[in-house]
């Protein structure tokens, strides 16, 4: 009882056209991919040629100066490090704790949906808004001034939603049979989380952490909003010192390049340093992910 609906001849006639369309579509997708890569390559070429000859030991270890030839970025590097030292542990603790609460303790329902919706919305709030929040609350209301702590707290608020969402996803990816095994032996929820769930989720949580850190390193707007200075001579040495960071340094040098063309080269050189730092962070995230991914 062979069916006879498909005309083999017609199929043969159409086939070259169908194959051709497939090739065109494939070409379009390849073109889209290429577009991003080409733009990135042009950007890299541009900053590297602009900064050529400017990146040297002196540049990395000197403080800023009005004299472009003597200016360095040690101040911005120190400020960025200070920021990371506070933002990292703070967001890790708050973010993972929030994620654990939402994923493991709150039952699915309205409360959880309410929290989750708000956190996702927070993740989408423009960074300048966080800057204004930081300016109002930390700098003015709490009277901190534009210091390391105020900047770090502002930046923590900014990346916290990212850490929470990434940690939630990491916890959700832990297979439920592992939890069942632990509960089945009479473990409490906390014992199960501590001994089984967290160790299994840690690689993904760390990956999310590092991505959040690379976001925090590159953010400029919120720190400009809280008013960190354009020029900084003494290096920050504590939570209540003034500071500046790499992207803000880039921003001010780019603006001043209208007055002194050499400053554009300094900005380009700083961009290269920032990109290298971010590249290292992202590579670490990928390494961690690959190392632990195959465990389940």
């Amino acid at each position: 009882m062979a069916m006879n609906y498909i005309d083999q001849e017609a199929v043969s006639r159409q086939l070259p056209k169908r194959i051709a369309i497939n090739k065109i579509i494939r070409g379009l997708f390849f073109g889209s991919t290429l577009f991003g890569l080409v733009v990135l390559a042009v950007l890299l070429y541009d900053v590297i040629t602009d900064s050529w000859g400017w990146i040297n030991w002196n540049f990395l270890t000197s403080v800023t100066s009005f004299d472009a030839a003597n200016a360095g970025i040690i101040g911005a590097i120190t400020g960025t490090l200070w920021l990371m030292i506070i933002v990292g542990p703070l967001t890790m603790i708050l973010g993972v704790a929030t994620a654990i609460y939402l994923e493991e303790y709150v039952k699915e329902g309205r409360v959880r949906t309410f929290f989750e919706t708000n956190i996702s919305n927070l993740a989408g709030v423009p960074s300048i808004v966080f800057g204004l929040l930081g300016l109002t609350v930390f700098v003015r209301m709490l009277g901190m001034g534009s210091v390391v702590l105020a900047g770090a707290l502002t930046m923590s608020l900014l990346v916290l939603p990212i850490v929470i969402v990434a940690s939630q996803e990491a916890l959700r990816a832990v297979p439920s049979y592992l939890r069942e095994a632990s509960f089945g032996m009479g473990a409490t929820r906390w014992q199960t989380i501590k001994n089984v769930v967290l160790p299994a989720a840690l690689p993904s949580i760390l990956t999310g952490m590092i991505l959040a850190m690379s976001r925090a390193i590159g953010e400029t707007a919120p720190l400009i909003a809280i008013g960190i200075p354009a020029l900084l001579i003494p290096l920050p040495s504590g939570l209540f010192d003034s500071f500046t960071v790499l992207p803000v340094q880039i921003y001010y040098w780019t603006i001043d390049a209208a007055l002194n063309a050499e400053l554009a080269s300094l900005a380009a050189a700083t961009i290269v340093v920032l990109l290298v730092v971010m590249f290292i962070l992202n590579a670490t995230a990928i390494l961690i992910r690959n190392k632990f991914q195959k465990r389940f």
């Binding site: 329902g109 049979y177 069942e180 095994a181 032996m185 009479g186 014992q191 001994n195």
Partner: protein
């Protein structure tokens, strides 16, 4: 809570009980009029079942008949699903398991569970077995080593893993993983062991090993086993309950169920007319 468990662990040392237990077997679990809903789906209807000491009760029935759901009500694992509602009474050695004064952690310490899919932790063989004793407060390394060894021997897997205790449990075969999970369960020194289709993911040879093991464990533990496999139920159980559409159609001695069932539906299922 952990204090109590430590004492318990020290007292009961994986030893066979005396012969007088043979005379009159006590009821360990009794289920009275248990109904269960998943959201609006009525999954269990008026379940009445008793589990006796040192016996194997098999629960058979077609897919979706509620047998796994039932066994998970016994250690309240069914509550992992937030939409579940249970009514009726389940007594474990005379204590209502839904009584607030009877913490679920204590229940699950006395009632172990082996799952359908072997679910070792991504830890070493040793750490898998030591997990239970550790969460119940045992820190002494010598004691832990002893518990691990005895539990692995109890689960008939010691000879296969004694030289690789520090290796990741994921490196074991499926059958070995399942016996490791049984060892992990024994390490908590349970009174009852619930097994939810423990051999459904295993090859015939590993299945046989687990079945033999169940026969050995019967001397010390009360076992309730859900199975798809009627021959398995016939081979290893003392009593069999036949579930259909969330109801217990028939519950009797295994011999009776398989040779002279009361209900025509039981006979149809056993003779392979459906299911």
């Amino acid at each position: 809570m952990s204090q109590v468990s430590v004492k318990q662990n020290a007292k009961v040392e994986l030893q066979p009980q005396g012969e007088k237990a043979e005379a009159k077997k006590e009821i360990v679990y009794s289920t009275e009029k248990v109904n269960l809903w998943y959201g609006k789906t009525h999954a269990l209807h008026d379940i009445e079942l008793d589990q006796r000491e040192q016996e194997v009760t098999a629960i058979i029935g077609p897919s979706g008949c509620g047998k796994s759901t039932y066994i998970k009500t016994l250690n309240r694992m069914v509550e992992m699903n937030p939409d579940v509602k249970v009514t009726g009474k389940i007594y474990y050695r005379g204590q209502n398991i839904y009584d607030r004064r009877f913490p679920v952690e204590e229940l699950r310490t006395r009632v172990g569970m082996v799952f359908q899919k072997p679910n070792p932790f991504p830890k070493s063989v040793f750490d898998n077995v030591a997990y239970g004793p550790k969460i119940h407060g045992i820190r002494d390394k010598k004691l832990l080593e002893q518990i691990v060894e005895e539990s692995l021997k109890g689960a008939a897997i010691w000879d296969e893993v004694k030289d690789r205790l520090q290796e990741n449990a994921f490196g074991l075969s499926g059958g070995q993983q399942q016996r490791l999970c049984i060892a992990r369960c024994l390490a908590v020194e349970p009174d009852v062991i619930l097994m939810d289709e423990p051999t459904s993911a295993l090859d015939p040879k590993s299945t046989l090993k687990v079945e033999e093991l169940v026969q050995e464990l019967k001397a010390k533990y009360s076992i309730m086993i859900v199975t798809h496999n009627m021959q398995q139920a016939a081979r290893i159980s003392d009593r069999t309950a036949f579930f259909l559409n969330g109801e217990v159609v028939e519950f009797d001695k295994t011999d009776t169920i398989f040779s002279n069932p009361n209900d025509s539906r039981t006979e149809d299922y056993i003779t392979g007319r459906f299911g």
